[in-house]
Amino acid sequence: MFVANHSHYPRVGDSPELQKLRRAIEAAGRGAPKGELIQAQQEMTQRALHEQEEAGCDIVTDGQIRWYDGVSHFAGNFDGVAHGSIFRFFDTNFLIRQPIAKGKARWRGTLTAPDHAFAQRAAKKPVKAVLTGPVTLARHTILETDAYTNAMDLAADYAAGLVLEAKELFSAGATLLQVEEPSILTHPEDLPILKEFLAQINKSKPANASVFLATYFNDAAPLYTKLLELPVAGLIWDLTYSATLEERIAQGFSKVLGLGIADARNTKLEKPEDLARRIEKIAAKARGDIHLLPSCGLEYLPRGRAQEKLAVLAKTRRYLEG
């Protein structure tokens, strides 16, 4: 059983020291040398890695400290796609920059792989790389071009670029890759594109690498069987949105099982013994590894509480392992 971070991690905290990156971004906006911003990003990445490790994580992420958001970070790296106005991300109070496709989407080249390599050098634990999947990117993009007749066509081009990025991540040493696809839960008609995308990634991955699919912000139970059929090593579930998902999982699970069981959208701290009781039921019939995670990225929480949520998961594991 592993304790893992999900994806992002708060990039500022309440103390002046933990607001250094915020100040550096403001300064960069006023024309300060870019090197100062890069240094602040690197320092905050190191801090985020350290805090995850300190909380007891076995698998960490770089915290996505450099990303504006998970959608525009990738969509904006395609020629033919511009940044639009802001748009609420699912049911959060977090706003993303909505991409606008103005022409054929063509991947510009390496984006996150150097950041991954930096994080892995700085971390003591394995760093999981994260990509936002083509369905979620396409379903958040406004089409203002004749190059695409619908979002699925655009998703296919997004997929082609993201496969290249996955290869770069593997070349940079990534052995754990999480593909995030919250939009697949609201657009199940896009499953064939997602399946093909994951198959392409599998072809390019080294033998020692594992690819996981993460869904969140909606009930995955209606799509459960179809998600199980996808060519991934593991599935990461958000257990906070569904009344039935845990029961389905408890009937047996053969892939790596990611349990998003600590609510990353609310500050209320779970009791490890309560989580342990729920996990015991599921673990009895799980044949693969189990990852204990927050239900989604941690940037929806204040920094201190984000770390505490990870610590709760670590305590839960200790409780389970006696």
Binding site: N93, I142, T267
Partner: protein, 333 residues
Amino acid sequence: MSRQKLKQLGLDLPLFPTTSVGSFPKPPELMSARAQLRKRRITPADLKRAEEKATRDWIGFQEKAGVDVLVDGEMYRGDMVAYFAETLTGFREGGLVRSYGNRYYHKPVIADDVTWRAPITVDWWKFSQALTKKPVKGMLTGPYTIMDWSFNEHYPDRRAACMALAQAIRQEVEALISAGCKIIQIDEPALSVRVAELPLVVEAMDAVTRELPAYFITHICYGAFEHVYPEILHLPVDNLDLDMALTARERHPKIKAAPFTKDISYGVSDVHSHIVEDEATVYERVKHALAVIPAAQLWVDPDCGLKTRTVEEAQDKMRVIVAAAQRARKELA
């Protein structure tokens, strides 16, 4: 229908009334005063004087610019949820959470029973209304949005938290009406993201506004309109304030298919751009609105609060909106 209601309330507004969504940027001297107070270099009374001056300036600007329905500009508020959480009982301040880009806010935590103990916005509304003969909107955040944008460590579920907040906000509405306020805006920008909870938003808004004598507006922005329209027309308010400047192309077919039955405050200016649209662009947006909205139902305003712009940008945007509306009155009435 809503025009009738406005008249019954003694309000005679022109065609295409102009207004703003609520917040204006705080001038540099007020920002400095807020920072000084945090460092305890000035007193709360000093800060209040700075807030009053900034409010007077914004009321004066709106009058001079020809805006029809004014706002106090929220010079005394930080975040639209935290401001109410600081005054209602049951909340404690949470840590910083990112809103977008490099913007953060202290997300409140519901830690106990929520109750209304005293007027929150009434003194500022009275202060602002005393400065002008034009109507000043009462500006509140709705119970669903306060619930959704707070952490809940107390109530068993979202519904319980939301309905408790509805009772508290209703008391604030009653206090505003008692003070003489006739137009009250209750913002619910969070409503458009959990479609399954829309009936809860309607129920909570009903608990806030039922049988109260005011013209009610609710502002909704940056959400999945396609999932909540036309159901949002069930909200028990008179006017829906929507961001339309950049979204009209996608939304108009929906509105054509299910006609807009309420008044609309139609956003014609992008508040997240430093670029001030020219009058012709905004006029075309007003004209375009009339393709799906009857003239008598149309108000015009920016897409959202202007607090993230500079003072100059916000003022320029408001001047352009007023000029475009005035031209529309002449050419499109």
